[in-house]
């Protein structure tokens, strides 16, 4: 007979570690040695490749939302007469295609919009504007298009998935908070770190090997409230793409994936608003034109109100608790003449959990200022200044004995990209980037009377530079290549004292460096190759190889992603992590109207210089964490099957992943290979949205998987007056299999003619079958019988209902 209770200790692991610190007695003056020396060159002299004799002309233009005039970056423009020829609209919504003179039918499409086609007679350069109609406007047929139709069939890129925000809106989630990161984990190859967390693992990688970008800026900790919610307010977002392998050369910095989240552009014609009231948080967004349509703005905010409810609590302790998170998104863009556009996008999110004595506050900031310029129909450039920051403070307040433990990471990045299409079927992209990081591991600030001693902040400075070229080439009508090369340089800079350690964690040497002096320097080339061959109009084969390098490493010893997880840079001890991935896939569209798409992708990944803690390690402030680290390698391989239906009354997908992910460390598990934590060989997900009537739509997700790899006791012994478990091989056991069904329903109120205000209700039940999926299994002495021990499973969420009211005007 299970007993249910409000269990406090579950997320203990999330709080387990105080931010660690490096024992680097280094003095630090004011300011930072900001030596990015941003040398920006126009890398237009890419490889010169066979240019066929043609009389090409350029057809260029924009793809816009018919109603709002908002440009639609990422929209696809195809040439129907030339299978495989097409392009995607740029971030400012413009596109350009070089074609031989002739007569063509161009077709523009975008997720969630109807397609539009235009017949053009090309004799000279020409401009075309496509205005696409949102398909949701006619509610009789809601199209939940997850990606540009056929997009991954006509380009060489494999291992990429995109999700539309309106699709994410309808997928039922925990407590009704739309969550892009949790919805991502329903795709094959993306595994959640655990029940109720936003951490995820892609193709067998670690949780920190995902580059999460919001409008090009890194979000270091994309979570709120102990990881229960993601940092992203769905109202502010347009879409996201995840690259699971074969990343294009313009991305770099993490081994396993790139999650590229884009903020929406504001409406360019009307001032509009939208918002929602949910169980956890409320949201409000405003957008509209500026300078009579030359620009637009978007402001979106979200905040929780648990603390407001706590004020009403009878218990004084509860009334004195501070508990909230909020986030703000802002985006503004402005056309500087006909050819340039300036865009600003910013994010700030903060969390506070402060009790009468102890507390925790943390937050992320990300901002991008971007200038796009169109030199000609064939050449565009983008320059961006990018800032990111994450900081964490643990506080103890006790009668003038206050002390805090602080840690932070911040970065400034300058990047420049050039995109050149010399002719149809050939596209060259190149770019440079320089990023300066300051990582400040945990240090103590204390009042004079505090019971602990203050420690010095020992920030580590680092400079990461990267350059890339990428060459998209249609070799024949059927054969496409994307050849890319990225080079990443990383330099850890003084001032500071840095030590080296042997395999047992004993210090070998220690050296003090002056400001700006190189402590360690690494240069790594990252080749990225992709090829696709179109077997038939509906069938494509793809293959790719990619190497990725990672120089910032997140150390985490907990089950869930945690705000106290600690970033460390590549150093004298820590090598850049490397991943080599080979992948191949089969892609096919099915059905009379290409309503279904099917893909099968296989991959094998080698991981080098992986990092883990020595057994029993604990991060403490003021310690050099590198002393406690071990270095090893990994391997991951798998097969991902995905069948999607993106049009019609029933939309959704079925995904299945068969995979393996293992690690090997000389000093762990007696040097034998062991299962990575997120190694779950079988994983099935079913996502379905059904438009029942024009007003009601139903949705459901079903997830089933092997349990996480865990370590169970292999025996017990008695020591220090206690019965103590004895452990054997690492991660050799499994949690019981996981199964969960979530259901939801959305009711759209009819919009009376002439009224702008429109509301909808969303209802959902998380874990509707009430299955007790073990989140954690613990082993304990049987109460009342000290001679026996038992296994206790803790399940987190069952039958969690929610209701959310959304509106727009």
């Amino acid at each position: 007979m299970p007993h249910c209770l409000t269990r406090y200790g579950l997320y203990v692991t999330a709080w387990l570690r105080l931010p660690g610190a490096r024992a680097r007695a280094r003095r630090r003056g004011q300011g930072h040695a900001w030596r990015t020396g941003a040398l920006l060159l126009l890398l237009t002299g890419g490889p010169t490749l066979l240019v066929r004799a043609q009389a090409p002309v350029t057809v260029s233009g924009t793809v816009q939302d018919e109603a709002s005039g908002e440009n639609l970056p990422g929209a696809t423009v195809r040439v129907l007469e030339q299978p495989g020829v097409g392009t995607g609209a740029e971030a400012d919504g413009t596109f350009a295609l070089r074609l031989p003179t002739g007569t063509y039918t161009l077709e523009a499409s975008f997720l969630g919009y109807g397609t539009a086609s235009r017949r053009v007679v090309l004799t000279r350069n020409q401009r075309v504007v496509f205005r696409l109609v949102r398909t949701e406007a006619s509610l009789s047929e809601v199209v939940v298009t997850a990606r540009p139709r056929d997009a991954d069939i006509s380009k060489a890129q494999a291992g990429v998935e995109t999700l539309d925000m309106r699709q994410i809106t309808r997928v039922p989630v925990l407590l009704g908070e739309k969550d892009i990161l949790k919805t991502l984990t329903l795709l094959p190859g993306v595994k959640t770190a655990g029940e109720g967390t936003t951490g995820f693992s892609v193709r067998g990688g670690n949780l920190d090997q995902n580059l999460v970008l919001l409008d090009e800026a890194v979000v270091y900790n994309p979570s709120h409230l102990l990881g229960f919610f993601s940092a992203f307010n769905a109202d502010a977002l347009r879409d996201l793409a995840i690259f699971k392998g074969g990343m294009p050369a313009q991305y770099g910095g993490r081994l396993s994936s790139v999650v590229d989240v884009q903020t929406r552009d504001g409406d360019r014609q009307l001032l509009r608003g939208s918002g929602g009231v949910g169980l956890i948080a409320s949201r409000l967004a405003l957008e509209g034109p500026v300078a009579s349509g030359k620009g637009s703005f978007l402001l979106a905010a979200r905040r929780t109100y648990a603390d407001a409810l706590l004020r009403l609590a009878p218990d004084e302790t509860a009334r004195n608790i501070t508990l909230y998170f909020y986030d703000l998104n802002a985006k503004a863009s402005y056309a500087l003449g006909a050819r340039s556009r300036l865009t600003f996008s910013g994010y700030q999110g903060r969390d506070a959990l402060v009790l009468p004595i102890f507390g925790q506050r943390y937050g992320n900031r990300a901002g991008t200022l971007r200038l796009s310029h169109t030199f000609s129909d064939r050449l565009t450039s983008h320059t961006a200044l990018v800032h990111s920051k994450y900081d964490l403070r643990l506080t103890v307040q006790a009668n003038e004995q206050d002390f805090n433990i602080n840690s932070k990471i911040r970065s400034w990045q300058l990047k420049h990209d050039v995109d050149w299409t010399p002719r149809a079927g050939l596209r060259l992209r190149a770019g440079l980037s320089a990023a300066h990081y300051v990582l400040t591991p945990g240090y103590v600030t204390a009042a004079a009377a505090a019971p602990v001693n203050a420690t010095a902040a020992r920030p580590a400075d680092a400079l990461e530079t990267a350059a890339y070229v990428s060459h998209e080439w249609a070799a024949t009508d059927r054969l496409d290549f994307t050849l890319g090369l990225r080079a990443t340089g990383f330099r850890l800079l003084g001032p500071g004292t840095y030590a080296t350690y042997d395999a047992a964690g004993n210090q070998l040497s220690s050296q003090t460096y002056a400001r700006g002096q190189a402590v360690a320097t690494y240069l790594n080339p990252e080749p990225r190759l992709a090829a696709s061959y179109q077997l038939a109009p509906t069938t494509t084969l793809k293959a790719g190889y990619a190497r990725n390098v990672q120089n910032l490493h997140l150390l985490s010893n907990s089950l869930a992603s945690s705000p106290t997880d600690l970033y460390v840079p590549t150093s004298r001890n820590v090598r850049p992590e490397l991943a080599d991935q080979l992948s191949a896939g089969y892609f096919r569209t099915l059905g009379a109207q290409r309503a279904y798409s099917f893909s099968a992708e296989g991959y094998y990944k080698w991981l080098q210089h992986q990092i883990d803690y020595r057994d029993g390690s604990q991060l403490l402030v003021g310690q050099d964490v590198e002393r406690t680290l071990l270095y090893g390698r990994g391997r991951a391989y798998g097969l991902e099957l995905l069948l999607r239906k993106d049009t019609g009354r029933l939309t959704g997908w079925v995904g299945y992943t068969l995979s393996k992910s293992e690690r090997q460390f000389a000093d762990l598990n007696a040097g034998a290979w062991f299962n990575a934590r997120q190694d779950r060989p079988h994983e099935l997900s079913v996502v379905a949205v059904y438009q029942l009537t024009p007003r009601w739509s139903l949705s459901g997700t079903f997830v089933a998987s092997t349990g996480n790899a865990v370590t169970y006791p292999v025996g017990k012994t008695f020591v220090a007056g206690q019965t103590v478990s004895v452990y054997g091989p690492r991660n050799a056991d499994r949690l019981p299999a996981y199964r969960r069904l979530d259901v939801g329903a959305t009711y759209e109120k009819p919009r009376p003619a002439g009224r702008r205000f429109h509301g909808s209700w969303n209802f959902s039940v998380y874990n509707a079958l009430g299955r007790q999926n073990p989140f954690l299994i613990t082993f304990e002495t049987v109460p009342d019988d000290p001679t026996r021990t038992q296994a206790v499973s803790t399940a987190l969420f069952r039958f969690v209902p929610s209701a959310t009211y959304n509106f727009n005007f």
Partner: protein, 270 residues
């Protein structure tokens, strides 16, 4: 201290999230490893000879009755040329020295030869740090009480302590480890929190008679108790638990501790 903060934060987080979680006792198919030797060696400055207890681990699902290991050859040496042999006592698996007594400032090496293998551990017997008081105070959470051992940490050297608590003469489950890493030279402010993972019968109540034992231990013994404590505190379990870091070479479970020991008693007012 970290654990104390963490435990409270966790309690609050759980309270605030007020997620109804369910706990169920389940049947698991556990693998059984071959029994492993577990050794526990003690030498204190109380004028008594060293003691060693040798047992073997059992399957997880078996009854908690641990077979004693007899027939071991055990020696204790100090760094001043002293040597003692520990003989098995009337109780099987319990060994006791005869001549060598624990002396502050010396370093001791315990060698255990059993079943053809040798295990050795070294520990330093550090001078006692005076335990000057024992306060009973409210923990700030509900009606729970906590104990504050009062002592002044010696400045300039790393110091490690382990506290054991006896409630009405019975050893409680908590193993309280402290390190002066953040508090070098400070008077102690870190209480022994009895709540949290400890079983309900360990809670301190008015009228209880409480005895606290304080051991000043070296880094190796601290490392053992710290990692043991991580395993015992359910919430603090690492994602991939491993056996505690023993100071014995040779792959045995357990530890050898040489320490100066002090104790204080307190009666909790009604």
């Amino acid at each position: 201290m970290n654990h104390a903060i963490i435990r409270r934060l966790v309690a609050a987080a759980g309270l605030l999230l007020s997620t109804a979680a369910c706990q169920t006792v389940i049947d698991l198919d556990l693998q059984d490893a071959a029994p492993r030797l577990t050794m526990e060696g003690q030498l204190t400055d109380d004028g008594q000879p060293a003691t060693v207890r040798l047992i073997r681990s059992v399957a997880y699902t078996a009854a908690s009755s641990f077979p004693a290991v007899s027939g071991a050859f055990i020696t204790l040496r100090d760094n001043a040329g002293g040597l003692d042999t520990l003989r098995e006592t009337a109780a099987a698996g319990q060994y006791r020295g005869r001549t060598l007594r624990g002396q502050v400032g010396r370093q001791y090496t315990l060698r255990i030869e059993v079943e053809g293998r040798t295990y050795a551990a070294t520990a330093a017997l550090l001078p006692a740090v005076p335990l000057t008081g024992l306060q009973v105070r409210p923990s700030g959470f509900g009606d729970e009480l906590e104990l504050l051992p009062e002592y002044q940490d010696p400045a300039g050297t790393p110091n490690y302590y382990v506290f054991r608590l006896y409630r009405n003469g019975r050893l409680t489950q908590g193993i309280f480890v402290q390190s002066d890493q953040l508090t070098d030279g400070q008077p102690n402010s870190v209480p022994l929190n009895v709540q949290g993972p400890s079983p309900a019968e360990d809670a301190l109540l008015p009228g209880d008679s409480v005895r606290v034992e304080m051991q000043h231990i070296d880094a190796g013994v601290y490392e053992y108790f710290r990692t043991l404590n991580m395993l015992l505190q359910v919430g603090l379990a690492s994602a991939s638990p491993a056996n505690p870091t023993s100071n014995f070479s040779g792959g045995a479970l357990g530890y050898f501790s040489a320490h100066a020991q002090q104790q204080r008693r307190v009666q909790i007012p009604r």
